[in-house]
């Protein structure tokens, strides 16, 4: 008799096991999925520097970037708006993990080409990855005339290189933080006292204030030898991102009028953000989809 009671209990137990409910089924489905924490930043740039954000495959980003003159110039220069430095870029995502880009900056008439590789992608679910990590490399060549034509100038002196690791974490839906250890190599340093290689650490973040608007900030600290010939100031930028579908507008205040990586990361001459040497600027990013 004991046995039969046991059997009855067993058969009830089997009913219990049968009763899959919706939640357990949903959990099974979600357990098989990798949930990527994408869109840590609205745009492929935090402000001046690269963000860890990688475009989706077959998307093209056309960017128009402007930095005006110094706000401290006052009304005579219409708070800097009379002057402007411009950069145009085209970036194309060949795959979800590789973007190629070209750019042209008015500063030093510089052309540059870049590659950005996604290595790690922050996710939960089947794959748990706490951070996103990308590798960015850029080669820039200035094409303005050499400042000292009497010296023997090599064309290789026009080149500068940037290698950068972008590590970011989207902590919450609103808040993301990025660290960007960077190495800049310039074939031609400003003077013999300046190093060709500059090591720098960038930090950038964003905080979403609405679903389509975010505050951003960015700073690059560069290690410089004390003998460096000129006074450099590290680039600082604070900005606001406004996203409207395929467009992202970035409006910023920065002490850097230069927009390509090897140019702005190495710092600005005598432009101290905290002494009011600030440029107003904007980036317009328009993303076109060529997905079939």
């Amino acid at each position: 008799m004991k046995k039969s009671i046991f059997l009855i209990l067993l058969s009830f137990l089997s009913y219990g096991l049968l009763a899959h409910d919706l939640d357990s089924l949903l959990n099974q489905v979600s357990g098989d999925e990798v949930n990527y924490a994408d869109a840590a930043f609205k745009s492929t740039h935090v402000i001046n520097g690269q963000s860890v954000m990688q475009m989706h495959k077959n998307h093209l980003d056309f960017r128009i970037e402007h930095r005006f003159g110094l706000i401290s110039d006052g009304i005579y220069n219409f708070f800097g708006l009379d002057q402007s430095s411009i950069r145009l870029t085209l970036d194309y995502a060949l795959t979800d993990w590789l973007t190629v880009g070209i750019g042209r900056s008015s500063f030093d008439k510089t052309y540059d080409g870049s590659l950005k590789f996604r290595i790690l992608r922050q996710s939960t679910g089947k794959v748990n990855m706490p951070i996103s990590l990308s590798f960015y490399t850029d080669l820039a060549a200035f094409t303005r005339d050499f400042s000292d034509p009497t010296r023997t100038n090599y064309n290789s002196s026009r080149l500068s290189f940037v290698n950068q690791i972008l590590v970011a974490r989207k902590f919450t839906d609103k808040f993301s933080l990025q660290l960007s250890p960077t190495m800049v190599h310039r074939n031609l340093a400003p003077t013999v006292l300046d190093p060709n290689d500059i090591y720098s650490l960038g930090i950038g973040g964003r905080y979403k204030i609405t679903k389509r608007m975010a505050l951003t900030a960015e700073y690059f600290y560069s290690i410089r030898p004390p003998r460096s010939s000129e006074v450099y100031h590290d680039p600082i930028a604070i900005g606001i991102d406004i996203e409207t579908g395929g467009h992202v507008f970035q409006i910023m205040l920065t002490n850097s009028p230069v927009m390509f990586d090897s140019g702005f990361i190495t710092g600005t001459h005598n432009e101290n953000f905290f002494k009011g040497d600030i440029h107003l600027g904007f980036n317009i990013s328009r993303i076109f989809s060529f997905q079939k």
Binding site: L18, L22, G245
Partner: protein
């Protein structure tokens, strides 16, 4: 004693059998939605719809993960999750409902039936009562269900900014395609 045992086993088995035949489920149902406007057409498909159907009491439940909706345009998918559905905050949409004309449907006989369904639809954290009709086809151990509903994003507190309001339809049509299997261990 032995007779008792056999009897219990038999009861247990038949119990299982009957129970099994009235419980249906799927983990791979299909939901597509379409937003059509003069300027832009958006559509997305989710092939991982979870649903359970209890034919004895006419209970019908649906669950979908918002992130499983796939768009042709990956940027739209990102904005769908980030800006509209807020899928990290509200990861799933649910429907809990009942077949109201259960007596008209014979789940033990093959054939086509029309089911009237009413229940609560939860999207974006907002629950609203809805009604729908579904075409059911009862086959051997399989039931297919097809239905379509219209959902207004505004009803579910999904805000569409003025700038893009002409590109996103006020009425989004949703098509549902389910192949239920008998639930078994």
């Amino acid at each position: 004693m032995k007779k008792n045992l056999i009897l219990i086993i038999l009861i247990a088995l038949t119990g299982n059998f009957i129970y099994g035949q009235t419980n249906y489920f799927t983990k791979s149902g299909k939901i597509e939605f379409f937003s059509k406007t003069v300027l832009e057409n958006n559509e997305a498909i989710n092939n991982q719809v979870v649903s359970t159907l209890k034919t004895d009491i006419g209970e019908l439940n649906f669950g979908v993960l918002i992130k499983s909706f796939k768009f042709k345009n990956a940027l739209m998918e990102e904005h769908f999750n980030e800006n509209y559905m807020e899928s990290t905050k509200f990861p799933k949409a649910l429907f809990k409902g009942k077949i109201t004309n259960l007596k008209d449907i014979n789940f033990t006989k093959k054939g086509n039936y029309t089911a009237n369904i009413s229940g609560d639809l939860t999207i974006h954290g907002v629950t609203k009562p809805i009604t729908a009709t579904a075409q059911l086809e009862v086959k051997d151990k399989v039931i297919t269900a097809v239905s379509a509903i219209i959902v207004k994003p505004a009803d579910y507190d999904i805000k569409i900014p003025d700038l893009v309001k002409d590109k996103i339809a006020k009425d989004v049509s949703i098509e549902i395609n389910i192949n239920y299997e008998v639930m078994s261990k």
